[in-house]
């Protein structure tokens, strides 16, 4: 079907279109220059906002971790049962939505691309099976590298070539998209019940430091020229004073040479959780201004927010020692799950409370980061779903970003620590629709290296969101309207197909799964296979030949070819 989206106010930052009234044409699933009107279905978007489909680069929607969250929390599901309709499957929502519901709800908000950011390689099939049951959106998953036995081994040996070969191999074996690192070294130490306390601590059992792991992986990533940078969950997450670790981490990769054509070498995930100043919970304050200052003067860093929402949610990370800490802080239920040779994970339910001073500060930190960093191309809106809160609250975050009044109204309801221990009240900046389009689609698509996403130029995927709000009449005081409009897209179009009308799902195509394929030079691959065979025989519990994910798990795939060695 061909489509013409007529007369909307278009926000397409990659093509520098800022709210101009123009028509968008889609043919065979792609954006085209122009189309004759009689050959297309026309959607009247006059008086509405038109943007590329939303792109979420960090949301835990698939795999063993979120599924442990689902298993752990029947009480969460009971708040939000979702019945079957003529076109959609039944399920549950809230903080650990079932796969179908996650796909629908992203589409209902105008999102068309979502990345699962923590795939334990041994559980890769599980991730892909869930992604295949997550309809509509395009997606990918980032395999965990930061505590992998072979990574630690090659880092210890200082063998960057073997490290690169291993990265290429594991990407293909797991059908992964980017290098995810979680508490580098700390998760390995956690297998002995320990942790690392900073960049220069030694990893239990290996003669390496987190600093070495991060810089080696960043170097390998840029030398291979992967589409995204390393995707890093820093050490010391959730520890008061950790903004210093975060700054040190950013500094540590300053001299890593970026891949040709970009300036960035490091993405820091859910930075809010890593921007705490003060030396205890009692003296906690925001470290966001320091982080923003650094980011504003250094081009190699990007980050996402991990914005806190005041609600009951479920925290889940690949950071076992942090989840154990949180369990001890809260006394809530606790799941720990260690994965041989590779990774680990933990799950703890958590409620962010308005009257809790720590939570109030955390809430403000996320917004400070978004507002104090001038360049929206380098700071992306996320809640680290479901860690800071469910992704269904994105429209609320958009309202906070666009309206100081929205922030003030919330600040008046929450603990005064948000006023006293952060700078949020002093910030008058408000995002406009253009900047929202940057932080929620254009910029994440760009930093992921997804050329066909995040914009509406010819050749882009026909992924479009239309929101029923008139930007020429909207004022920041009307923040509830913007929240409403972004909650239920007037239309969502995915690959040229209308999937949402008036906030309701009308069709459920299966999106594609991106993965990165880097060819390994033959001699290097031979050497690598020898190591892998030995490692698998001696330490794994499944055969090397049964490890790589088969094509059967990627019914709709998009292989991104990368030339890693020239």
């Amino acid at each position: 079907m061909n489509l013409i989206i007529k007369g909307g106010y278009v926000y397409d930052p990659i093509n520098k279109v800022n709210g101009e009234k123009m028509d968008i044409y889609i043919k065979d699933g792609k954006i085209v220059e122009e189309l004759p009107e009689h050959k297309a279905k026309v959607i009247d978007a006059s008086g509405m906002v038109v943007m590329p489909g939303g792109v979420d680069l960090h949301s835990h929607i698939a795999g063993s971790k979120i599924n442990l969250g689902r298993l752990l929390r029947p009480e969460d599901h009971r708040k939000d049962p979702v019945p079957r309709t003529r076109v959609t499957r039944a399920g549950v929502g809230y903080s650990c939505p079932s796969t179908y519901i996650a796909g629908y709800r992203y589409a209902q908000m105008g999102y068309t691309t979502v990345m699962e950011p923590a795939m334990p390689p041994l559980g890769a099939r599980h991730v892909h099976e869930e992604l295949n049951d997550t309809p509509i959106v395009d997606k990918s998953a980032y395999p965990l590298f930061g505590n992998n036995y072979f990574v630690l081994k090659y880092v210890r040996e200082g063998d960057l070539e073997m490290l690169k070969a291993f990265i290429a191999w594991l990407m293909r074996a797991t059908r992964g998209y980017a290098i995810k690192i979680v508490n580098p070294g700390g998760v390995e130490s956690w297998k002995w019940g320990k942790n690392v306390d900073g960049l220069d601590d030694t990893v239990e059992g290996f003669d390496v430091t987190p600093r070495q792991i991060i810089t080696s992986l960043a170097r390998a990533n840029e030398e291979l020229g992967l589409p995204h940078t390393i995707h890093l969950h820093c050490n010391n997450l959730g520890v008061p004073g950790n903004y210093q670790t975060t700054l040190e981490t950013m500094r540590a990769v300053e001299d890593v040479k970026p891949k040709e054509g970009r300036e960035n070498t490091l993405h820091i995930v859910h930075c809010q959780f890593n921007a705490l100043a003060g030396d205890s919970w009692a003296t906690l304050r925001s470290g966001a201004p320091e982080i923003a200052k650094y980011v504003n003067s250094h081009r190699h860093v990007t980050l996402d927010l991990g914005q806190v929402i005041f609600t009951d949610t479920t925290t889940m990370t690949g950071d076992g020692p942090w989840q154990f800490r949180l369990y001890n802080l809260t006394g809530n239920k606790w799941v720990n799950s260690d994965v041989e040779m590779e990774a680990g994970a933990g799950v703890v339910p958590y409620t962010f409370r308005k009257k809790n001073p720590v939570n109030a500060i955390q809430w403000a930190i996320g917004l400070e980061l978004a507002l104090l960093i001038y360049d929206p191309w380098r700071v992306y809106m996320t809640t680290d779903h479901p860690n800071g809160g469910p992704f269904t609250f994105y429209p609320k975050v958009i309202a906070w970003l666009m309206s100081r009044k929205a922030r003030t109204d919330t600040m008046l309801e929450i603990h005064r620590a948000a006023m006293r221990k952060t700078t949020l009240a002093d910030i008058y900046r408000e995002y406009d629709f253009y900047e929202i389009a940057i932080t929620t689609r254009a910029a994440p698509a760009k930093v992921l290296g997804l050329g066909e996403k995040g914009h509406l130029g010819p050749g882009a995927d026909g992924d479009v969101a239309i929101y029923d709000i008139n930007p020429t009449e909207w004022r920041p005081s009307m923040y509830r309207e913007v929240e409403k409009a972004f909650s239920r897209a007037k239309y969502t179009i995915k690959g040229g197909e209308i999937v949402v009308v008036d906030g309701e799902v009308v069709s459920t195509p299966l999106g594609k799964t991106y993965w990165v394929d880097v060819e390994i030079p033959e001699d290097l691959e031979g050497e690598l296979m020898k190591d892998l065979e030995e490692g698998f025989r001696n330490y794994y519990t499944i055969s090397l030949s049964n490890y790589p994910v088969e094509d059967a798990y990627l019914p709709v795939q998009r292989r991104v070819e990368v030339v890693g060695w020239r």
Binding site: L72, R84, V92, C96, R125, W190, K191, K333, V339, M341
Partner: protein
Amino acid sequence: MPVYRSVVCPFCGCLCDDLEITVEDNRIVKVRNGCAISTSKFLHHHENRVENPLIDGKPVALEEAVKEAAEILKSARRPLIYGLSSTECGAIAKAIELAELIGGVVDNTASVCHGPTILALQTLGESKCTLGTVRNRADLIIYWGCNPLEAHIRHLTRYSAMARGLYTSGGRKDRYVVAVDVRETRMKRVADLFLKVNPGGDYELLSALRAVVRGYGLDVDEVSGVPRDVILELAERMKKSRFGAIFFGLGLTQSEGRHMNIEAAIGLVADLNHHTKFVLIPMRGHYNVAGANTVTTWQTGYPYAVDFSRGYPRYNPGEYTAVDLLARGEADAALIIASDPAAHLPYKAARRLAEIPTIVLDPKRSMTSMISRVVIPTAAAGIEAEGTAYRMDGIPIRLKKLMEPPEGVLPDAEVLSLIIEEVMR
């Protein structure tokens, strides 16, 4: 004569993936690396097959059987779909879709084995790991209410007591092994320490250990038949280990106390994590019972006992569990997939199954197939069909297809798709 290597064994939750299987004239003639159970099951695979789709015992065409099945399910008010732990995940997904479509209840065999484990998890959480983590690290292993020598024969050598790994190159001699059971089992010969606990005394013993780990004294001479000194020493050993693991089985989940027992074990293990690293791992029996829970959870939010009668999933073990639904005389039709509840469920539930129109999908004849209105033979996953299975520790592994199923016989997932199409017609 094709020889398949690195074959995954679909006969218990260990999912050993290093078998070598020789197929001759579409028949398995040789099995290497399999345990006794596995070898025998592979070699006898061709026996006792359901040869034809049947309605009321009479051979019919597949289309007819599918039609009858759809008719039964459509006209039922409280249809039950049950089994699922001995098939691959694609079939499990289809079964859930069908349950949703007909507004039925979908349950899997976890409800009669590790259901209490899941209930305890939903109350408290769990500290667990993959089997390789135990292989590589555990210097203290406790088998509680389980007997791998009989039920998971290669567990000891591949994954636990005897396995050699990264920090356990000495294998068995690098570990201290404890077995706890209500009667002496062959595990006594494997273990350094065997504790015979009084029947029904698991909860007490676990609680005593927990109290000692927490630093309280014991002012009794024995707990549940285990002397005080032994408890004190074991608690000390647990705290001093570098990496401890408790494997537990039906001896703990299905004995007096049930989910309370598991809660006590979870609490003990959580406390031990303040001293060292400790994990707790259920020994799942059927090869893909973990998969049945996993798929049901990602599709509905709940692991088993899911009711769709209101159009959305509801979860209530004890109410929507197959045994209860049948014993209450509530289920008025049943679709059984890869399971034999007529042989294994309590009498009242099994009797109900014989009273109502029952449909069974199974490669083999069973008690259930004898009492079923409709019988549809299917290809055996892991032998005649591919698919995913989840190992007892949650690792997803791809099952292999080694040979063609008998003429006209389809995998479970395909038969279920046909039934779904027919129901939607």
